[in-house]
Amino acid sequence: MLRISTPTQFQRGINSILEQQAKLGYTQEQIASGKKVLSPADDPAASAQLLELGRAIETVNQYQENAGRAKSRLEVEEVAISSAASALQRVRELAVQGGSDTFTPAQRASMAVEVREMQAHILSQANAKDSNGEYIFSGFQGRVQPFTELGGVYTYNGDMGRRELQISADRTLADRDSGFAVFMDVPTSAGGTQNMFAMIEQIAVDLEAGTAPTAPLADVDEAVAHLAQVLASVGGRLKSIDEQTEVNTDFVTTMEISRVDIGELDYAEAITRFSQQQIALEAAQKSFAQIQGMSLFNFLN
């Protein structure tokens, strides 16, 4: 038989109460915060994982933001180019009409007026700005107006840069095209290149002079096809963004589920645990009081 001293008996009782209180306190803190892991020491591996997950989620959310910006800019570009393409299509019709022998020089001159309007429209589209007031077709030089006209001569003032935005860890995507590629470096039917504005200028000048346009219709067709191709490329990128956004969303969802699994409290389990610990604490308190109350001195007189 191990002899139990009075201080030991007292200390044991107190210790078991303190222990139960500490457990209850921890569970209560978990319930209050909703977190399974309260500090790295609770579960070092889980804390590191939670950091990694949080970081991954935040990073992908930033990619989503980037993708959103790229998308809105490409949509601006899409509008500008498809609007320019319609105008160019109208120029083509006027050029076809103007080439017909049935029109008088005066009628051709009035067609020229419309061609000029279309030309101005395409120019304004080529000088379009995004929501930040930056020119979208000037390459890297967002503050430089890409296209200027002086005496019928059209000049490109931008460069050939294309800004890329990061839409996933290993993927960047151009949020614009350079004006050079869209409006200056336009293929001709002969296999060379031409400036779209110069081509329209020639049609306008010919019609104003009352003559049929000298530019080959096939060149106009090439220009129309070129804009359609740029438009397709923009559309392709928009589709890529949608796909990537979806992939990113799925990724974030998966990561969020892991984060909840690892880091968030299972309330049902915690509350059950809380009541069990409450019972244990009450039992410890009760047994302490009863044992302390038992003494041989109670029976002496």
Binding site: L2, R3, I4, S5, T6, P7, T8, S39, P40, A41, D42, D43, P44, A45, S47, A48, L51, G54, R55, E58, T59, Q62, Y63, E65, N66, R69, A70, E134, S138, G139, F140, Q141, G142, R143, V144, V153, Y154, T155, Y156, G158, D159, M160, G161, R163, E164, L165, Q166, A169, T172, F180, M184, G192, T193, Q194, N195, A198, S295, L296, F297, L300
Partner: protein, 675 residues
Amino acid sequence: MADILNIGVSALNVYKRALSTVGHNISNVNTPGYSRQYVELGANDPTRDGAGYLGNGVHVNTIGRRYDDFLASQVRNAQSASSFQGTLFSYAERINNLLGDPNTGLDSAMQEYFNAMQTVADDPASMAARQEVMSEASTLESRFNQLSQHYDNLRNSVNSDMALKISDANALATSIAEINLAITASQGVGNGKAAPDLLDQRDQLLRDLSTIVGISTAEQSDGAVNVFIGTGQTLVVGGTAFALSVVPNAADGASPDIAVSRGGSGQPQAITSFVTGGELGGLLEFRSDFLDEGQRRLGLTAVGLVEATNQQHALGLDLQGGMGGNLFSSLSFSGENNRNNTGNGTVDITFNPTDLGDLTTHNYQLDFDGTNWTATQLSDNPPAPVVFAPPAYSPASGNTIDGFHLAFTAGTTAWAAGDSFLLKPTVAAAGAINFALTDPRQIAAAAPLRSTEVTDANGNPVNTGSAAITQPQIATTTGIPLGVGLPMGFTFTNNAGGTGNPGFDITNGPAGPNDYILYDPTTADRFGKGFPDGSIPNQFSLFGGLTFEISGVPAVGDQFQVEDNAGGTGDNRNALALAGLQSTLTLSGGTNTFQETYSQLVSDVGSKTRYAEINYNAQEGLLASHEESLFSIAAVNLDEEAADLMRYQQAYQAAAQVINVAGTIFDTLLGAVRR
């Protein structure tokens, strides 16, 4: 009758003393360290009588003390281990909670900074986006600084705690020495038995001392105990206590030593590395294992972030067209002069952004033998020391010791043989991090060069082939920017460099025999060929270490050019590169990102804290069980005392009755005589 009376009186005296002892036990039931006392009774020597031997009553043999030396020393050892782990754990928790708290931790601040950099990449010309980088970088700076400050505060608190504990230990040692003298004296007058209460008091003092530091004891024949700490450093001998003190560490000012006086006028002897167990041991362990190591890992993250970011930022172009400056102030730290150095030369640590992967979290000792320096990594498994003579390992030589440079500055007496320095490349970095930009326009989001195909004056294409050039990248700022009117031109020819091979002749670029690159569109080159192609070593090293790629089929006379990115406000290439540093494996030999390095710190502190907690609980359990074993022998049980009280009281009453009977017999006798 006199015999009966004597016997009765002897019993009365004895049981009075026994009752006093029970009373003493009861009154000391809650006295720490008290060992219950007991009365050992003995029958008095008998008197020879014709019929045999007649008993002569009872006497007290001794008042003994229930005690067990072995259990007591086990309790002391368990106490040292428990307070060691308890101290370690309670300090560890403070760091653990700090790093785990998302409001004070570093990870979210780093994430926000890199996200802000992405936002600048989205909108390089936007002042709002640039302002976001300014504020997130400032937040990051203050997070680093605050964390480092917390480490510094904890270090101060540990060091001042250490001084307090040492003064407590000295008081205890003095008391033990004094009580040793008293015990020796009491043993002298007590027939070789020391006063039990004095022994208890000394035991309690030893127990208190073992809370502060691990001790061993040796009892002497005169009753005194000698006390040793560490590996046998004497603290108390008989009536003499040797004082502990805190002395500066000659090599490392941030970590003062514990020393013990050697008596007389001798210098105190540093015993830090021998101190084990107890609160002092816990403080020392925390200082080296959590503070030093943690702050160095934090610093490694800081050095990596600062140097890699600055290097990339310098390769960019700001909103006003200037090359990027330092985004964070460049870091450099002084080697710590050993206090015993006789020379007064100094040595400074700087970093090489290209060698960040070589950096470690260790400190280094640098020793001078009069001719050469030896740098030794202070770790458990150090690599071979680096031996060199200045100016090697200086920035100019390009040599680094594990990723850092040394810059030597001779003082008036330069360095003397035997001088040494403690090099701490990383420990102070987190505290020194400082965001250096003052104007959002200074953020170098653009790259300094761009490529184009050559056009006429109005921007009309002149190239007739299908070849294209990618945007160029640079690795250094040498020769960047190229200068107004000096774009580097590349013209396709079938006789590049006069070699008879197709390629591009270069203008305004590498001169003489190096002014061409080979490109044969009839080969796989047309699917993309990277330049420089290595055929001419260091071809573009005077032009920022330019790299680019050409693809497609050029026509003879087609021209590309690489020019300064004037007006390139919409360019985000450098911002993307700066943001990309987030996922670059810059540190630890190219295995870790900055944030991963930080996570390692968090999980490392987490596991160590958890380990300390588990150990603490285990030691507490062990202490309680040893204590219970000792208590089961030594401590008072009130029920037992109550029983003794009854037992001795009954005996006392019976003895009184014996005296009463003796009186009655005497009266009877007197009555008979009177008759």
